[in-house]
């Protein structure tokens, strides 16, 4: 059953998107999408798979939607559906396939009128085809809480009439970053879990990559979509080497690079090239380029730090943020030595966004440690410990503290 469900996962997103657009209501679209898939699971093993499975699902789902709206006139009026009969008369599509309206759904799920925390949940639910319990697990919240959030988000779409549409070319530059942000935030939670027993949650990272692949297929010419996909592939390629046998943190400098996924790196590098070609580079493309430079180094010491610092300089001009400045300072420390890096880090001390951001305290601790300023290093490690997220990150800091203590004696 699970395998059959998996086959339907991709189809479910397409079906849902087409129905949501037609009826303007995600609830109705979800309901009849599920019913159509259930019907297929019952009928196809008996009657055989129809020659046009997508068309069969669509016709079945639409018929169920029309029935539902006939039964419930008040609901129909609320949705202001005027074209039900015309819709039924519409013939099959020439290609026989489903229309792909998932791009519309991406923009609806990431609409700025929705609460930021609901956008990712809705995108995972509608476009990655995750069930509500799976989405709840993804965000580490109870199922009931997630169910409530999804209901709230769908009600918001219906009540405020957030449209199912792709923004016009002139609005696209303002709206696309919101969609990319939703996908990237799913990925970053997968890359470094904000809490819990695991450092990384590869299932989430893979869902984000899957979403980016779908989006890249729908918008092949949008270079930041390409850049985001490249970035995630090039970072995710290191996933097997980032944790030790006990799930503990393995830093980039200690990773066994033979365990990096060469196929993902090859694919990511090709995508970076097209993301950087044909105009000014966007922030995802530049971050992907940085990831590519790391991936291309045969070992840590031969990393091209001048190149990485130069890319961070570009990134700081197009997308300035204290976190980027922190990463640049760390790269400078490897290029010019810990003292220079530390001076840069200290110049960021007043940034409110870095105050509770444990990578900042950890980066300072590391440089102070290397400069043999042990009491200050200890204080910085302890500060990092106060804000670190997942258990393996905390264990890692405890180990560094222990190492420092043994050096001190």
């Amino acid at each position: 059953m699970d395998q059959v469900e998996a086959v339907f996962r991709e189809e479910r997103g397409r079906l849902l998107a087409a129905l949501a657009r037609r009826f303007g209501d995600l609830d109705l679209a979800e309901e009849v999408t599920s019913e159509a898939i259930e019907a297929a699971l019952v009928r196809w093993p008996v009657d055989g798979v129809p020659p046009n499975p997508g068309g069969w699902l669509m016709t079945t789902a639409r018929r169920k939607a029309v029935d539902r709206l006939r039964r419930d006139q008040a609901y129909a009026a609320k949705l202001a559906i005027l074209q039900v009969d015309a819709d039924r008369a519409e013939g099959p599509r020439p290609g026989g396939g489903l229309p792909d309206e998932r791009l519309e759904l991406f923009f609806t799920c990431a609409h700025p009128a929705l609460a930021p925390e609901d956008r990712g949940a809705l995108t995972l639910r509608c476009l990655a085809g995750l069930s509500t319990p799976e989405v709840a697990r993804a965000f580490l919240v109870p199922v009931a809480t997630m169910a409530k959030r999804i209901v709230r988000a769908k009600a918001r779409i219906r009540d405020a009439r957030i449209p199912f549409r792709v923004p016009d070319a002139d609005e696209l530059p303002a709206r696309l970053p919101g969609v990319l942000q939703v996908i990237y935030s799913v990925f970053t939670e997968g890359y470094a879990a904000s809490s819990g027993p695991y450092l990384q949650r590869t299932d989430l990272a893979e869902e984000a990559i899957r979403l980016a692949r779908i989006l890249h297929g729908l918008l092949p010419g949008e270079r930041e979509v390409t850049g985001l996909l490249a970035l995630m592939l090039l970072v995710h390629a290191r996933c097997a080497a980032r944790t030790g046998p006990d799930g503990d943190v393995v830093l980039l400098e200690d990773q066994n690079r033979a365990r990096w996924d060469a196929d993902l790196i090859t694919e990511g590098r090709a995508l970076v090239v097209s993301a950087l070609t044909g105009g000014p580079a966007g922030p995802y493309a530049v971050q992907a380029a940085i990831a590519a430079v790391h991936d291309e180094a045969p070992d840590f010491v031969s990393t091209d730090w001048p190149q990485i610092v130069a890319l961070y300089d570009v990134l700081l001009t197009i997308d300035p943020s204290p976190v980027i400045a922190l990463n640049r300072a760390a790269a400078v420390a490897f290029r010019d030595g810990p003292e220079t890096g530390l001076a840069l880090l200290d110049s960021l001390a007043a940034e409110p966004r870095l105050r509770d951001y444990h990578p900042y305290a950890l980066a300072r601790a590391d440089l102070l440690h290397r400069l043999n300023r042990l009491p200050e290093a200890r204080a910085a490690y302890e500060q990092a410990l106060g804000t670190a997220g997942s258990d393996p990150e905390r264990t890692h800091i405890h180990r560094r503290l222990a190492a420092l203590t043994s050096e001190d004696n």
Partner: protein
């Protein structure tokens, strides 16, 4: 679908007017939105600071106080009710409205439709 556009002034000048809003901008905007045929109603408040709040307690006693401005930085200056196909169109009109500039904001809220009930 009807939406209420609540126009809030960001900053007040010493005479109680909104900072950075030119009458010509408002006239141009009002002409454009009216000619688009989407306006259901619109009013501009007489001034930004005169307001009287009325509350009736459980015992029926009435309390009348001077405006609600002490705790809020943004003050309501006027509104439009527009009838447009969806939220994105309403947001576009809000963005065109001069009230959304110079520290002001336009809050867009959907209006209930009881026609189908």
């Amino acid at each position: 679908m009807k939406y209420l556009l609540l126009i809030n002034a960001g900053e007040l000048d010493p005479s109680g007017g909104a900072v950075g809003c030119e009458p010509e901008d408002w006239m141009r905007f009002d002409k454009e939105i009216t000619e688009a045929g989407v306006v259901v109603a619109s009013e501009s408040l007489a001034d930004l600071v005169t307001a009287t709040r009325v509350q009736v307690a459980n015992d029926g006693s009435r309390t009348v106080t001077d405006g609600p401005f002490a705790e809020t930085r943004e003050v309501l200056g006027g509104f439009y009710v527009i009838d447009v196909p969806d939220l994105d169109v309403a947001l576009d009109w809000a963005a065109k409205c001069p009230g959304s500039r110079a520290g002001g904001s336009v809050v867009v809220r959907p209006i209930a439709d009881f026609a189908g009930a």
